[in-house]
């Protein structure tokens, strides 16, 4: 039996599949998006927690807020420094970060994260 041809064809497919990312990006270095802060956010200087925490944990914080607000009616969130905030995505977060496309979406799109926050919550209209 000589199936060399078929086997080599199979190996070529194998190679193409496992090196697909290299072909797809064709070696072009991509730029990492940087979330853009609005003037109001810049003026406030700090968010409800420090930047590094917010970068990695914001979704868990929002999830915790959702649970306390919806299930316990607790609208007040006290941060580490004892400062109180209203636990609300639309009214607190997006008051400063009113630029959804340049703040939220940039990184979300980059890492292919498509949260369903705005299925229900409204976000400020952005002027183009």
């Amino acid at each position: 039996m000589n199936d060399r041809g078929k086997i080599i064809a199979g190996l070529i497919i194998f190679f193409a599949v496992f090196t697909f990312p290299f072909w797809y990006n064709h070696g072009a270095a991509s730029s990492v998006p940087e979330p853009k802060l609005t003037d109001k956010a810049k003026a406030a200087k700090t968010c409800v927690a420090d930047t590094q925490f917010m970068r990695t944990e914001h979704m868990k914080l929002l999830d915790a807020w959702r649970d306390t607000v919806v299930r316990e009616g607790g609208r007040v969130y006290t941060n580490e420094n004892g400062k109180e905030f209203m636990a609300s995505l639309s009214n607190t977060c997006m008051d400063c970060h009113s630029n959804k496309t340049e703040f939220c979406d940039r990184c979300h799109n980059y890492v292919s994260s498509d949260p369903y926050c705005w299925d229900c919550h409204t976000y400020p209209k952005e002027e183009k």
């Binding site: 190996l11 090196t19 498509d114």
Partner: protein
């Protein structure tokens, strides 16, 4: 006692600690983030091609008809066209079921002595766990392409949506992550808890399972518990995928490097291990050849070419002499 799983567990833990210490204490990000992943992928591809070509070179002189159905025979016997295929189409269907649905595992039986009788019982657990494990792993691997492609194709986004359809928690729970860990754990427990399977299991059986469990646990940790900066992770992986490798500023937690190290080890380990069944399943001679031994002549590939002198040639050579001697000839 089978100590295979203890050695394998120890090996996985030590590997994890090496990567963690290497990054967190020794600052060898470039080694664990750039060099080892590239090395792992290179060993995987080169080793895989080498193994398959090695198999391709071995001669298969005769079809091996290990079949589970009636062979194509006289017209009044109904042949089993899939389990005992006589045509290429039948082989393709059999291979389809084998590769995508693990039909051989589905036929798994357990031998038991029940009272005075020997019984063979149909057992589907191995098939079920294997199916769960392999498909979860496939989905997890495809999902990970979001770290290696920019822009991320819609197919991957769609798969993520389907995988997170339960919308549990934030970040949304992926079903495949749970089933991958569950499937691998069940396959491991099978080898640890069932005495007969434990008896025939080697360290080489436990190590890949434990390594994959290690990959799944570190991945789940990073996504749901001790979060890593996913933007930095993608910066690193995109660097790898575009041949512009760089360690992102600010750094990524050591857990990520443990995950990446485990994956690199797994990739490099595949060509040297039973995990080559990934390529081997396509080349299983008992599955991918039509059972046509009786209808088609198969010539042994290592037969020496024999010089033949047929009767026709003999007669052509000696016809005149044969006629002179009065011997009968076929052609005048």
């Amino acid at each position: 006692m089978n100590v295979g799983y203890l050695y394998s567990l120890l090996a996985v833990i030590v590997l994890g600690l090496i990567a963690y210490a290497g990054v967190e204490a020794a600052g060898l990000q470039w080694l664990f983030g750039i060099l080892i992943p590239y090395l792992g992928l290179t060993i995987f591809i080169a080793g895989f091609v080498y193994r398959v070509m090695d198999w391709a070179k071995s001669a298969v002189p005769f079809r091996i008809p290990t079949t589970c159905g009636q062979q194509k025979s006289l017209p009044w016997f109904t042949p089993n066209r899939i389990d005992n295929p006589a045509t290429t189409l039948g082989v393709i269907v059999r291979m389809f079921f084998e590769i995508l649905l693990f039909r051989s595992l589905f036929r798994n039986t357990r031998v038991e002595i029940r009272g005075e009788r020997l019984s063979y019982k149909w057992v589907i657990w191995l098939w079920l766990f294997a199916l769960m494990f392999h498909y979860s792993f496939l989905i997890v691997v495809i999902r990970h392409l979001r770290f290696f492609l920019e822009p991320v194709p819609w197919v991957i986004t769609l798969l993520e949506k389907a995988d997170g359809v339960l919308q549990v928690g934030l970040p949304i729970l992926y079903i495949s992550g749970v089933t991958l860990l569950l499937g691998a754990t069940l396959l491991l427990l099978r080898r640890v808890l069932i005495p007969r399977i434990n008896y025939i299991s080697l360290a080489a059986d436990y190590f890949p399972l434990l390594l994959i469990i290690g990959i799944a646990i570190t991945g789940i940790m990073m996504r749901y518990f001790t979060k890593v900066d996913v933007l930095k992770v993608k910066e690193l992986t995109m660097g790898l995928a575009t041949f512009h490798p760089a360690i992102p500023e600010g750094g990524i937690s050591g857990l990520f490097y443990v995950h990446l190290f485990f994956v690199s080890i797994l990739l490099a380990y595949i060509p040297f291990s039973k995990l080559m069944h990934m390529g081997g399943v396509f080349l299983s001679p008992t599955r991918n050849l039509a059972n046509n031994n009786r209808r088609i002549r198969h010539i042994n590939p290592w037969n020496h070419p024999v010089k033949v002198h047929t009767y026709e040639e003999y007669e052509d050579e000696f016809r005149e002499k044969m006629i002179e001697a009065g011997l009968p000839v076929e052609k005048e």
